[in-house]
């Protein structure tokens, strides 16, 4: 039976991070992953991540995935794929199924980094072909290059539902509706806004009555629900769709820990059955650590830091580093992790209805109910100012830990400050040179460059554009408001795709000047 210093289960962001830190300190590490390819969910994430530079903000998920794989390779971590860990037994014995063979391994320390699985909701017709998990849509589109369907209804307005809806649109699917039984959008406002401005209607306080079809989905009926989640008669709405995506939450895959005898708890705030562990991932079993979503649903950025903590903690457990080094390293990582766990969507704020930003500004209720900031609400926010000439308009209206915009502008036009959850401020008197870096660097696609009055009755609006085909200069079309409705005529002035923009093209459209503060998306006719 082969023995390793450290056996890690799961080669996703937390598992790879743990492996890298442990191997760098001299441990012999093996990571077992049941999938054909490593990286967990990272390679399906084509959007730019949030956070700050140390959290790899502005970098697309699949690029972070490749960076981690390269680091793991360099550190000498052995990654074993197509290897399902089916048991974690006494004395840290790990049983692995590879093909039709069963193999046994021993780890002096174990890190369980198995992540989470998608939840399901059931409704008549939910078993029909065409009803898929949102993760399945991502897998099909981003890994296999196949369209999940042509007309999709998304159930769930958390970050997964919002992000996957946008990804579906990016490969040409029509998202006919985004539905959630909750009364408020669950994910980041900027994710909702980038979906809403393309014309996708949001139906909060609604859920699916039934999916229709004989051999596969051909349609779906939704209806409004009351405060007790009971259907309100007469509110049914029908959509012709071939696909229904379920983005209704994740549950930790913690079975191995339970099996091994770890103390577990049922914690709804963490997503379900989770191991009881300290802030560095130590469970009740000495030598068994956890990292990532399996210890509590969060996101990839925090998973990576937790993985690093677990890897370092395992190194100290086995005597490869001294306790004082452990304490120093963990303190630094703790700071980084804490930096992510702030703001409106922080784990500590889950479930709370937040009415004001940290600055005391009223949160856009329209954003929470319909997915977009209303015209009469947008001026409240410090990123939205009015002046002559091209200037950045930062429609970032909720406190989330994120600051690439500040670093993107070399002229100091955007300021966030030391507290990275602060709302970005459009700095008065700063000299905007219209380079477009802020527009391209905003992971939330919430920054626009606007010239409110070109002098000829028109205005120009530069927006981030991540769709194909890229419209050509001179293309006539329509300007859409934040609500995704056509509000004016628009003409494409330019489309810029620079390497520095990292696949975010900048589309500049000319609109009548009364729409300078309203038009935020372009549609060709």
């Amino acid at each position: 039976m082969k023995r390793y210093d450290l056996i890690i289960v799961g080669a996703g962001p937390s598992g790879l991070s743990a492996g890298i830190e442990a191997a760098k300190r001299g441990l012999k590490v093996a990571i077992f992953d049941e999938n054909e390819k490593p990286g967990g969910q990272l390679f399906k994430q084509i959007h730019k991540f949030f956070g700050s530079k140390e959290h790899r903000a502005k970098v697309r998920g699949f690029v972070i995935g490749q960076q981690l794989l390269d680091e793991a390779d360099e550190a000498g971590v052995e990654v074993v794929l197509n290897a399902t860990v089916i048991g974690l037994y006494q004395d840290k014995e790990v049983v692995v199924k590879r093909g039709n063979e069963i193999e046994h391994f021993k780890g002096n320390a174990i890190v369980i980094a198995t992540g989470a699985a998608e939840n399901m909701v059931t409704f008549p017709g939910w078993t029909l072909p065409g009803v898929i998990g949102a993760g399945a849509a991502q897998t099909m589109m981003n890994l296999h290059g196949v369209l999940p369907g042509k007309k999709v209804l998304m159930l769930g307005s958390g970050n997964v539902g919002l992000v996957v809806s946008f990804q579906l649109e990016q490969c040409g699917c029509e998202v006919v509706a985004l539905v959630d039984a909750a009364p408020r959008v669950g994910g980041y406002g900027v994710h909702a806004a980038k979906v809403a401005r393309t014309g996708v209607p949001f139906y909060l306080s609604h859920t699916i009555v039934k999916a229709e079809g004989e051999e596969c989905v051909t349609g779906v009926t939704i209806a409004e629900v009351d405060s007790k989640f009971q259907f309100i008669p007469g509110t049914e709405k029908h959509f012709d769709v071939d696909t229904i995506c379920l983005a209704v939450g994740l549950s930790p895959m913690s079975q191995l820990l339970k099996m091994a005898g770890c103390k577990m708890e049922d914690n709804p705030k963490r997503g379900g059955q989770v191991p009881i562990c300290d802030e560095y991932g130590r469970t009740s079993l000495p030598g068994v650590f956890v990292a990532g979503d399996v210890s509590g649903i969060e996101e990839a950025s925090s998973a990576m830091i937790e993985g690093r903590m677990a890897g370092i903690a395992a190194a100290e457990y086995l005597g490869y580093i001294e306790k004082k080094d452990l304490d120093t390293e963990l303190a630094a990582l703790d700071l980084a992790l804490d930096g992510l766990r702030q703001g409106m969507f922080a784990p500590k704020n889950r479930g709370k209805a937040i009415e004001q930003t940290e600055e005391g500004i009223a949160i856009s209720q329209n954003l929470l109910l319909h997915g977009y900031v209303a015209d009469e609400e947008i001026d409240r926010f410090p990123g939205v100012t009015h002046r002559s000439g091209v200037h950045p308009v930062i429609e970032c209206t909720q406190n989330i830990p994120c600051n690439p915009c500040q670093d993107a502008c070399k002229k100091g036009c955007i300021s966030i400050g030391a507290n990275i959850t602060s709302l970005p401020i459009a700095v008065e008197g700063a000299d905007c040179i219209n380079c477009g870096m802020c527009v391209a660097s905003c992971s939330g696609q919430a920054i626009f460059l606007v010239d409110e009055d070109c002098g000829d009755g028109t205005a120009t609006v530069t927006l981030p554009y991540e769709f194909l085909p890229l419209p050509e200069e001179g293309t006539k079309g329509k300007g859409l408001g934040r609500d995704g409705k056509v509000i004016c005529d628009a003409e494409v002035v330019s489309v810029k795709s620079l390497k520095a923009f990292d696949k975010t093209s900048l589309l500049t459209m000319r609109v009548p000047k009364e729409y300078a503060t309203k038009a935020r998306f372009f549609k060709a006719v």
Partner: protein, 108 residues
């Protein structure tokens, strides 16, 4: 009917293996070597992978990562093959699964 994404705004043109032929319920289709069988079927517009044993209800892809077993089919004579994680090979014989057999129910 479903299609393949020719060029993706972020991912560009995705690398694929060799284009090979295989059969679905005896009919010849094309797919890329190494991609999941389910991806090739989806690209060809196939939605139903199997029918359930008791009530003969249709099932297809659900999780797409090999965890739910909704997508299983009879591949090269072997039933219960998870088509969403099994790589396509040239000449594969893929059949709709009825219960646990490739024979329609009235012929079982």
């Amino acid at each position: 009917m479903s299609e393949r994404i020719k060029e993706h705004p972020i991912l560009g043109v995705q690398e694929k293996g060799e284009l090979v032929k295989f059969t679905f319920d005896g009919k010849e289709i094309e797919g890329y070597e190494g991609e999941p069988i389910a991806a090739a079927l989806k690209a060809a517009g196939v939605m139903v992978h199997r029918y359930t044993q008791k009530e003969h209800k249709p099932r297809g892809i659900f999780c797409a990562i090999g965890r739910c077993t909704d997508c299983v089919m009879v591949v090269n004579g072997e039933p219960n093959v998870r088509t969403c994680i099994t790589p396509l090979a040239a000449g594969m014989d893929v059949r709709t699964q009825y219960g646990v057999s490739d024979q329609p129910f009235d012929e079982q």
